[in-house]
Amino acid sequence: MISKPPIFWQALVQVFAHAAEESYILGDLEETYASVEADYGKTRARAWYRRQVILSIPHLAARFVVFGIVMSKNYLLIALRNLRKSLGYTSINMFGLAVGLTCSLLIGLYVVSEISFDTHHEKANRIVRLVRTSNFGGGENTSPATSGPMGPLFASGLPEIESFFRLRQRPSVEVTRDGNVWYEEGFYDADASIFKSLTIPVLSSVGEGALEAPFRIMLSRTAALKFFNSVDITGQTLTVRGTEYAVDGVYEDFPLQSHFRPLMMGSFATLEQTIPETVQHLGNNLFFTYFLLKSPNALEEAQSKIPALIEQTAGPEIASKLAFSFQPLLDIHLYSHYVDELDVNSSVTSLVLISAIGFFILILAIVNFINLSTARSTRRAREVGVRKAIGAHRMQIAAQFIAETMMLSFLALGASLLMFWGVRPLFEEVTGRTLDVLLLRDPIILGAIALFTSLVGLAAGAYPAFVISSFVPTIVLKGSTSGRNEGGNQFLRKGLVVFQFSISVVLIISTMMVWRQLDYLRSKSLGIDSGQVLVTRLRNTTVREAAAALKSEFLQDASVSGVSATSSLLGNEGGTVLMVPEGTQNAEDGIIMNTMHADFDFVDLMGIQVLEGRSFDESQATDLEDAYLINERAAEKMGWTAQEAIGKEIIWPSSIDGSTPPVRVGTVIGVMKDFNFASLHTVVEPLVLIPSVAPPAYLMVKLSTTDLPATLSRLENTWETVVPKNSFDSFFLDDHFDQLYQSEERFGTMFAYFAVLAIVLACLGLLGLVSFTLDRRTREIGIRKTLGASSSSIIKMLTQEYALLIGISLVVAIPTAFLLMDRWLEGFPYRTDQSIAVFLTAALSIICISLVTIGFHAIRAASMDPVHALRHE
C-alpha cells in the first residue's frame, strides 16, 4: 500500500505556490513520492518530500511575487475602477480616514514637542532647579524664586553638587545702540556657569571667562542679528536698561522647546557689583537657582542633606520655616506650576487629555473606515458570486477586496499628509508650539505610519476578503445577499455607533465647559475696575523722571479721567518681601508679602474698595512716610480682622538679624477688599500697597471715551512733546488679563476643533451605518409601502432604532463628561459650576445632528417608489 505524502508539507506548498500552479506541483510531487517510496521505503520518501518542499519554497515564493506583480497590476486597476465607480462613497470614506490620520499626526507631533522640552541639554538629567517653601507665619509659600546666596551656599555645602547658576528674569527692557532703541523681552542676568551646565552652542566668544566679568553680555543669534546685524561682535558695546555692556559672545537661539529662552544674558557679576545688598539679601527671592549634580541619581541624597545645611547656616529657628527641594529640569515644563515661572508651562493633564482625544479620533476614523468598507462590500456579494462561478479562486477575491481597501487607506494617507501641511500653520498658531516636521522624515516613523496604514487597509478589507469571499455562489446568485453573519455584525456596528457618539458627546460637553470656565475667568470681577485702563510703560530713567510731567499733561486731556504712577503692573511684579507685623518678636516670623508702590490716586483710579480705615490721602503729609494699605488676605495672614488691622505697625526689615536699619516702618491705615492682581489660577495673595512718588515703572491712565483711537493718538502726541525720542509703549490692562488665560484659550480652541472633527466623523459613521441598513431593508420598505404603510410611519420606524442608540450614547457620555470636567475644574481655585444647560445643549445638538443625518436617508428610502424597491436585489 502506497502512502500519501505528509499533509503538512503539502499545505506548505499550497501556501507558497501560486494557485494556478499549485495542483500541478502537488501532482508531480505525489507521483515522484510514490516512486521514491516504492524504491526506498516510506521514511526516505518522506525525507525526500520535505527536502523537495524546503528547497522549492524560495523559488515558489519568488514566482509568487512575479505572479503577484502581474496580478496586482490587474487588482489595482480593478480596484481603481471600483473606487471611481462609487466616487461619493470613496471620497467620504477616504476623507474620514484622512481626517483621523491628520489629527493623530498633529497631536502626535504636539505631544512629542511637549515632552521634549529641555531635552536638548546634554546634562539635562543632572540639572535641577531649587524650589523654596517658606512658612514665616500665615501659610506656606512655595516658589522657585530664591534669594541670591542660595546658589553658592548649596554648591559649597552639598558634595553632590558640581556647579550652580542663577538667573534673574527681567520684564521688557530697553536696548540702545548707536541711537537706535529697541524694547525686548527675554533679558536675563545669568551666572557664567550656565554655559557649562546647559548645552548652549556658542557662535563666537571671547573664550574662557566669558560672562564672568561685570558689565558683560552674551547675545542670542537673533539678538545679535537684530542689534548688530552680525554674529561676530565680541567686544562691541550695547546699552541695556541704561547700563553699558561689552559683548562677550553670541550663542545659538534656545530651541522653542525650552522652559526659558533668553534673548540676552547679562553677567551676574554686574548685579554683584551694582546691587550687592540685593544679591546678598536672604529674603530677596528674585533669582532662579539651578544646580548641576554630579550624578543623575544624586537628587534624593542631596535633597536629604538640605535641612541640616540650612540649620547649620541659619540656625534652627529659620530652618524650621524654610525648606528647599530640587526639581528636575526635565519636569519643569509639564509639572511645574508655581506662581513665579519663567514662562507659561504646560500641564500634563492637558497633555493627557489631548492625547486621549487624538487617540479617540483616530479610533473613530478607523472604526468608520472599517465599517463603511464592510458595509459597502456586502453589496458586492453578487459580484463575488459571479466571479466564483466563473472560476475565481477564493484568494483572488480576497486579494481584490484587500487591494481596494489598501488603495483607499493609502489614498487617505496621501490626503492626510496634504491636509497636515495645510492645517499645520493654524495648529501651530493655536497651540503656540512649533511641530518638529523633520520627524516625519525619519525612516522608522515613516515606516511605522506606512505599516499602520496598511494594517488599517488590511483590517478594513478583512471582512469582505474572508467572509464574503466564502459565500457559496449558488446561494448568493439566487438573490438574497448572504444570508449569514447578519445578527452579530449588526450588534457590533451598533455598538460602534454608540461608542462614536459617546465620544462626540463627551467632547462637545468638554469643549463647552472649557469655554465656560475661560469665560468665567475673563469676566469674573477681579475686584478692580480694569476697563479702559491704558498702561504705559516707563522704559528708562528719562521717562521715569518725567512721570510727574506726563501725568499732569495726560490729565489735561478731556478723555482721561485719572492717572496713577505705579512701581509694578498690579502687585505681581514687585517680588515678595518679608514684612514683620506688630507684636512679632522675631523678624523671621514675618510674612511674605507682595508689594506694590503706587501714588495716591491708585486706589480711586482702579476702583479698589477700602473696607476699613481710609485710603491714602495726599493732604496727610505723613502718609508718604509711614502709611500702608494691606489687602484682606494680608490682614488675615497677620492674624488680624480688618478692623483690628487699622493702626497696627508693620516693619519691613532689611535684614533678618536686625543689624541694619529697616527699609520702612509704617502703620496700616486701611484694608482693601481682595482683588486679583495676579491671575485667577491662584488665590489672592497678601499684598501691601505703599505710597510712593519715587520714579515709577508704569503710568496707568484711566480713560472715559468712546473714541479710543483718537484718544490714543492724542496721548501719544502729548507723550512725544514731554519726552521726545522715547517711544510710546502702552497696552490695555484688560488685554493683559486676557493674556493670562492664554493656555486655557489654546486648550479650549484645540478642544473645539477636535470636537467638531469627532462629530463629523461620528456622523460619517452613522451615515455609513444608515445607508448600509437601508440598503438591506429596501425590499422590506417596499413591501411595507405596498401593504399601505405611510411614508411618515416608515420614517418613524427607521428613526426610532437610531434614536435609541443616540439615547444610549447620551446615557454613557454625560456622566463621563461630568466626572472628567469635574476633575479638570478642580485645578482652578476660581471656577464655574457645571451647568445643566451645557449638558442639555450638547444632548440636543447631537440629537439634531444625528436626526438630520438619519432623516436625510430615511426620507429618501421612505419616499422611494415601491416598484423600484421591490426590484432591488
Partner: protein, 106 residues
C-alpha cells in the same frame, strides 16, 4: 541566448516527447546530473520559456498516482528548436579552434 538550465530543460522536453511534464523532466534531470532538483526549479524556467514562445503547454488527464491531479504537458515549438540549435552552434563555435593551453597552476 538561453541559459544552461533552459537548454537542459528544452532538451528534456524534446527527449520526453509526449510525456514531458514537471515530474518527468525533474526525474530526467536528476538522473542525468545526479543532483536532486527541487521541483520548483523546473517550473520557473518552464513558465518563462512558455511565455517566450519556446514551449506550449496543455493540461493532461488526471491520474490516480498524482492524487487525482492533472499533468501539465509541454511541447517544443519551432522557436524552441531554433533556440536550441543556435545554442548548440554557439557552443560549437566557442569550442572550436581553441589554441593549445598553457595551464596556469591554481
Amino acid at each position: 541566448m538561453i541559459t544552461r538550465v533552459e537548454e537542459l530543460i528544452l532538451l528534456s522536453v524534446w527527449k520526453l516527447q509526449e510525456d514531458a511534464y514537471g515530474a518527468a523532466i525533474r526525474n530526467l534531470l536528476t538522473n542525468e546530473t545526479g543532483d536532486d532538483w527541487p521541483i520548483a526549479t523546473v517550473y520557473t524556467p518552464l513558465d518563462r520559456m512558455t511565455r517566450k514562445g519556446f514551449l506550449v503547454s496543455s493540461v493532461g488527464l488526471p491520474t490516480p498516482e498524482r492524487g487525482g491531479r492533472s499533468k501539465k504537458l509541454y511541447r517544443l515549438t519551432s522557436h524552441g528548436v531554433s533556440a536550441l540549435e543556435s545554442s548548440k552552434r554557439l557552443s560549437r563555435a566557442m569550442w572550436s579552434d581553441l589554441p593549445e593551453l598553457v595551464v596556469v597552476r591554481a
